[in-house]
Amino acid sequence: MDTAFYSTQLIPALNRGLIMSVKLIIPSGLIGLMLGIVIGTLRTFGHPVIRKVANAYATVFRGTPLVVQLFLLYFGLPNLGIYLDAYTAAVAGFILCSSAYHSEHIRGGLLSIKKGQLLAAQSMGFSTFKTMSSIIVPQAVRRALPGCGNEIIYLIKYSSLAYIITCIELTGEGKIIATRTFRYTEVFLVIGFYYLVMVTMASFVLQKLEEKFRIPGFGKV
């Protein structure tokens, strides 16, 4: 086996790409989830006009391919005088897309909370906002967590689309080497392994989160 290829070319390049991937995934995952919570809540309990706007947002970003969104952000926005660098455009695209999916999981969680708790909070003088932030959303997020975790795992993998708009991350670095050396099989097997490790670590963290936020009386006995 050609170990020099791995140790001097492939692994250093992929590690460099991995760092970029992590830089894309972490902010996109966190901000995407938070934005998803806000949008999901607005879609469920918002003023009718805001609800329509939030629903339209979800329809657009769930209904169009991520590649299209990325191209429009990176190559389309300059037509309006807005220039985003490749990294910013990629993160923005991931946030917009994943928040639209998160919002649907959150909406499911919100709909599963009985209206009585809302009434109880309001009967004690909670404002609508505080009812949401202290009572309803914390429970909805717990119920949405498995679905949102799924979306975050999916995000780890679709972060590989960033190289299409010249933000060279894990897949991009690998692709460059594969094209140059024509060793597609080895390169993409190793890339696949990198993603598998990332997803396994993310699953572990998500599982710990679920355990931490488990409420007695729900789920596992």
Binding site: K114, G116, Q117, L119, A120, A121, Q122, S123, M124, G125, F126, S127, K130, S134, I135, P138, Q139, R142, I215, P216, G217, F218
Partner: protein, 255 residues
Amino acid sequence: MTEQKPPILRVENICKILGGKEILKSVSFSLNKGELKVLIGPSGAGKSTLLQCINFLIPPDKGHVWLEGVEVQSRRKRDLYAFRQQVGMIFQDFNLFDHLNALENVSIALRKVKKIRRPEARDRAVAELERVGLGDKKYLYPAELSGGQKQRVSIARALAMDPKIMLLDEPTSALDPELIGEVLSVIRDLAQGGMTMILATHQIGFTRSLADEVLFMENGIIIEQGAPEELLSPDACTRSRDFCSRLNELYAENE
């Protein structure tokens, strides 16, 4: 009751149409400080709707509510929230916050609504839980409590807000017969401690012994109103008396 003082709560001309059906047809009554009024009547009479109209959880189509002589401006959010803090409400199905333990259920409104700091809110919550006999259950979650205990937590939660009046919407209707007693005894202590309350219930014995006045509701109006001795005495020819004896028969059959 002295007549000089204005009633603590006055409700006038409350009307509500829900789903094309007239649920409340101009209901009016008032409540003096320290009084316990009991709302009885068949299900569908509008008792729950009336109670929820009083604190605007269901906004009434028409009507006015006065607390201590001041009309509640329900359209002004700030006034509405301030009013609701003074009116405790107990629900038939408890409505505890599932993600919080008993202690947090009682203290959360103190912290988030009354802006009381965490340690003080906690102390107050502990005191209220002890008052309803649940000092040893403070770290249990709603799913770990019995129905009677849940309802007592919800009473503690309402009391922690120092309400001027309490609205109790069939607080024992979702409980097993052997758990009703523990909740009624908490309500009895409150009544004897001078809490002003309006209670919707089917507990006739309890009504007879503690109510200052009985309001009998049917089809969205109060059709009879008076002291329990008058309305519910065995030789009274009232609609209330009729209804209660039918309830008693039902219970006798079940036993």
